[in-house]
Assembly symmetry: C2
Homo-oligomer: 150 residues x 2
């Protein structure tokens, strides 16, 4: 057991979609008693190669992070569309994903897809890439796999 | 900084409300590659002293836990009502709360209440007590404080 599934990887992040990242960052900073983090915009599509349900998307997001020890709390304000971030906000479900740092993103994604959990969005960022799997129906949240670039 | 807020405490749990805990436990067990945990019913009201928005409630829940290293993933199937678990399921927002193990639940709750985050539900369990604060509007999720019994 636990040699191949997500339990063998590292849960590293809880992410929440927000309408106004400055307002949300201030509220979280107050609750946590931490400094307000600076929000930063994700790169343009030519840099991130973002794909939404298989198709390239120009959508971006503004991100802010709080370090909570074993995991980070990520706030996400969607910019443009289509994206799973925009979908999350539209659905009224604030928590967007739980993220795992994985050793092999393709293998981990294939295992979840074989369980009927489809890939919803993918993209690159400085230092890595991400795969969002739409496990909302099956598990209640989107699952993010964080891996290194191939 | 971080001497008094939640960042000075221990984030220990992400919880998801589910309609069918057997089905959800099996789906999560498959994704995680862990054994299916046994669901257990919370105690009766005379044992848990559960209060919902200040009033005693008979509501219970069936709970199942996965140990994910630094934090646990909790699945919650509401039984009876009223409860924040039932509210969570009705709202369509699967993630119910982020929980912190705190040194002083009353002090931590007072700090959050002073920020405009009200207490929604409280109760006891074997070995401790919990306070749910309704931070859905302000932070996007309910905050749970786990403390020892006074």
């Amino acid at each position: 057991m636990a040699d191949e599934g997500l339990a063998a990887e590292t849960l590293c992040q809880v992410a929440i979609t927000v309408k106004d990242i400055e307002k949300a960052s201030k509220a979280w900073a107050a609750a946590l008693d931490l400094p307000v983090p600076e929000a930063r915009l994700t790169g343009p599509a030519e840099e991130t190669h973002a794909r939404y349900h298989g198709r390239p998307t120009e959508a971006q997001a503004r991100l802010a992070f709080f370090n909570l020890g074993p995991i980070t709390l990520e706030l996400i304000e969607p910019v443009g569309e289509p994206s799973t971030w925009r979908d999350g906000l539209a659905s009224g479900s604030a928590v967007h994903h739980l993220a795992w740092q994985v050793r092999d993103a393709d293998a981990a994604a294939a295992r979840l897809q074989a369980q009927g959990i489809p890939v919803a969005q993918t993209g690159d960022f400085r230092g890595g890439r991400y795969v969002y799997l739409d496990a909302r129906e099956r598990l209640g949240v989107t699952i993010e796999l964080l891996g290194s670039r191939p």
